[in-house]
């Protein structure tokens, strides 16, 4: 087992990147979903949502 780790320790880097990218994507998705919920709240009250909010909800910045 120790030999295996010595030979493949570098695999930790791509695996860590994968975990990071997945987590980061998930958080970005949550941020976008919250923004969308806010846009819906504005819509239900018959108000225009701020431009920054629509950008976050529908753009790529989220």
């Amino acid at each position: 087992m120790e030999d295996l780790f010595r030979d493949f320790w570098w695999l930790l880097f791509p695996i860590a990147w994968l975990i990071y990218a997945g987590w980061s994507g998930w958080l970005g998705e949550r941020r976008r979903a919250e923004a969308m919920r806010l846009v819906r709240a504005y819509n239900e009250r018959g108000q225009e949502p701020p431009a920054e909010l629509t950008r976050l909800a529908f753009g790529k910045e989220g």
């Binding site: 030999d3 994968l18 819906r40 819509n43 239900e44 629509t54 529908f58 790529k60």
Partner: protein, 138 residues
Amino acid sequence: MEDLFRSYWWLLFPMAWFLVMGWSSWMDYRRHRDRLDLLKTYAEKGQEPPAELLQSITRNETMESWGMGPDTPGHRRHSNWPWQANVVLFTVLAAGFGYATWTDLYGAGEAFTIVTFVMVALALAFLVSGVFTKKPRG
């Protein structure tokens, strides 16, 4: 078991690729579902939805994030990472794995051959996509 891992460790990479693409597709699906739900609320109230919402419905953000989506005036591509960078990245990776194949690095020449093919295919795909995708005017 250890021998099996030593022989097939490179399989982790294509498997990880499938996982990433599956995860991205799941995220895209959720995003589109939420947007369609929101669009429905506008339709029910007889209101005009924001232009950004309408534009976002037809987008494939997974492909866009790889610089392979259409570039329209309404929304920019991931501007910090142009398609040329993907071509360079995968060409360099192909060269590196090609070298590993040629020299039978770590005694895993066969595995590196497959990885080299994948890298070359990706570099060519990004090149063709970048060259033939319509650019916005102005």
